[in-house]
Structure formats: structure tokens, C-alpha cells
Symmetry: C2
Subunit: 223 residues, 2 copies
């Protein structure tokens, strides 16, 4: 079970969204074909992904929507609430706090910390920004499952260390640098540049499909 | 070439980062093993990914770092500059504008639009927020390659339509909803909840590896 790849987990997240949409439309059954269609992957991939967790589909009928929602919910750990501490009360932090979708999926940002005296004590959404120095004490009193790092690059590793010391077992990092955490702590880094690069790849391919094969160095003629 | 999967492209982005680090350390050669190690994937996967684009490694020696950097740079379309229009001057927009890494990789956010009169005319970083109604005229005058949607959910599809009409060929969407764009436009959606779900999956697995197999409905005893 621990061998489930990161990309399988991401596809489960997407299936979960499609299922919720379909459920909201009142449909009770969905085919692997339909689940695949929405994400541009094959129905064989869908069946393989879902088979990791036991076979829920019925040949010729498809998957039972409410049942599959419950199963994926449980697989992804969305059948409970997670207490999240956020460090960094800048733009990213404010954007994350303003996003209501997290609480809907069970992620409660229950505390926000910063080290800038100008930010400490200010309101951010429903929370008051706390001094990062208080993290150990607040963590001991309240308990955090996960931490979010929304600080500048130079502070990120130090904040990661502080979150680990405070007992979090998962960290979502928005600072574009590699962080080191102990093996028992799950780390995900969101790098926006990767998203841009995925777009520029797609655009480059459509612009100049012939330009690929190492003709660098040669001059390019215009038509 | 157009069959390169999204996940391969993402791995290329990661290799590119590792290579830049290694290059900064002054190293000239890197093994597929080392490239793999950094991302927790197999060296066979690295060789397979890189073989899509021609074989650059030399058996027993590894890959030539500056050469591979140049090749991936070209593959990902990072050997040119991209003009990016951003719509939405809220927290996410401000966070993206403040992030200097984009320009370093060739992504220039050259205009920002909003429809809120309170925001139009204000400075955001080096830019002045423009009225979204001006998008067609500004696009015609300046030309945009890509658009970023950093608006509330309800405005996102309308903004996507406006960006497509303005001639962008790639859209990065931060609004957590499915958007529809013509086939010639590349679309990537950044859904932060997916990142959280990846963490909660990891934490759930480590918490209760045995809880998986559909024992839902039954009461859970505490040890």
C-alpha cells in the first residue's frame, strides 16, 4: 500500500473531484471511461488506479458514485479533519487563508505565524498572526498535524525544522527551494515555475515541432 | 513528440533544477542515478525520460551537465522569453508578481488586469493594474503568449474566454474549477487542495495502514 505512487494519488484527487460533480448532478453510476475522459487519461489507467484499493466497479455497469466517493475519501484521509499551522503571513499565506475550499475538504488552518513584528498581532481572515517564537508552545497546547511554509526562501529550512520539532507530520512548502526533513515527515513542494514550464513546453511544441533535434548553433531562417 | 506525458515534462523541470544546482557547484558530469536520487525516482526512469529527446548520456560517464541544461532548456521552451498577462490583482496575483523566479526562467508578467474599480490604477509591483475591459486593446498592441487566471471562481470561465479571444495560447488557472478552452490553447490548473490531499494520504497511510480494507461502518476500538 505504501508503494502507491505520487501520481496515482494525484489522479485519485482528480477522480474525487469528478465524482463529486457527477454526484451533485444526481448520477449514481459512472464508467471508468467517463472518469478517464475528464482527465485525458485512459480508462485502463482508471481501472488500474482503483484496483490498487480493491475492485469497486461492476463490469458493464461502472462504479457506484456515492460508494466510490466514500472509498476515495477514506483512502485520501479526507474522512477526518487535519489541523494545519501556517508560517508566513504574506501574500501566499493570505491567499491560502482566503481560499474556502480547504476547510470543505477537512483542512483547517488553525494558526498563522510570522516573524515580522509589523505582521504579528494583525488579523488575517479569522486568525490573529502569532509570533513564530510561540510556535512550540502553541503546538504543545493545540497540536498540529501539518504545516504550511509560505515564507521567503531564506527562512524556509529554519521554519521546516521548527515545524518538525513542533510535531507536524506533513509539510506543504511554497518556498522554491529544496528542504530537508526527517523521513517520517511527508513533504510536498509547490513550485509555480514548474506549471509555467509545462505551458512553455506545450507552446514550444506547437510552435516549432521540427526545431527539436539539436540544430542549436545553426542560424534560423525565417520563412 | 506530442505524446510526451505531462508527468515526463514535470520530471524534466525537476531534472533542470537539479542540473542547475549541480552546475552551480561546478560539476560537469552527473549520473542518471544522481538525477534520480534527488527526486526519489529510478535511474531507469531518468534514462527513459531523457531518451525521448535523443540520447545525451555516455555509459559509465553520465550526462554532461551544461549540455543537458541547454537541451532541457530548449525542450521546455525556456530558451526564449514569454509574455504573460495576469488577470486578478488579489492575493494570489500579488504573490505571483512578487515571486522573482518567473522572470529568471523567461516568464515576464507584463500586464495585470482586474475588474474591481478599487484595484484598477493601483500599483502592483512594477505594474499598474489595468481595467479588464482594456484586455483586447492591450493584447492587440503588446501581444501576450500566456495568461494567468487569479480571479474568484465565478469569473474564471469568462476571463478564460477573454484571454483566448486576446490570442494567448497557454493559460495557468488558479481558480479551483474546470475551465473550457479551445484545443489549441494549453491549460494547466493549479489546485492547492490536491497538494493537501497528497499530504493527508501520506499521513493516513502512516497512521493506520490496516484501516484501508473497507471496514467502514464498523466501530473502531481504541487500543
Amino acid at each position: 500500500m505504501s508503494r502507491i505512487s505520487e501520481s496515482t494519488v494525484r489522479r485519485l484527487s482528480h477522480y474525487y473531484r469528478v465524482l463529486q460533480e457527477v454526484d451533485a448532478e444526481g448520477k449514481r453510476l459512472i464508467s471508468s471511461h467517463r472518469l478517464a475522459e475528464r482527465e485525458g487519461i485512459t480508462s485502463a489507467q482508471v481501472r488500474k488506479d482503483l484496483s490498487y484499493f480493491g475492485s469497486f466497479g461492476r463490469r458493464g455497469l461502472g462504479y457506484h458514485v456515492p460508494h466510490l466517493i466514500e472509498e476515495i475519501r477514506s483512502i485520501l484521509g479526507l474522512d477526518r479533519r487535519w489541523r494545519v499551522a501556517m508560517v508566513g503571513a504574506g501574500n501566499i499565506g493570505a491567499a491560502l487563508l482566503a481560499y474556502r475550499g480547504f476547510a470543505g475538504q477537512g483542512f483547517d488552518i488553525v494558526a498563522v505565524f510570522d516573524r515580522d513584528p509589523a505582521r504579528i498581532g494583525q488579523r488575517l481572515g479569522l486568525l490573529t498572526v502569532l509570533d513564530i517564537a510561540e510556535l512550540p508552545a502553541v503546538a504543545a497546547a493545540q497540536g498540529f498535524d501539518m504545516g504550511v511554509i509560505a515564507t521567503p526562501i531564506r527562512a524556509a529550512q529554519e521554519v521546516a525544522d521548527a515545524l518538525v520539532a513542533a510535531g507536524v507530520r506533513g509539510i506543504l512548502n511554497f518556498a522554491p527551494r529544496k528542504l530537508f526533513v526527517p523521513e517520517h515527515v511527508a513533504l510536498r513542494t509547490v513550485d509555480m515555475t514548474v506549471e509555467f514550464e509545462s505551458l512553455s513546453f506545450a507552446l514550444s511544441q506547437s510552435l516549432a515541432p521540427k526545431r527539436r533535434r539539436s540544430d542549436s548553433g545553426r542560424g534560423r531562417s525565417r520563412p
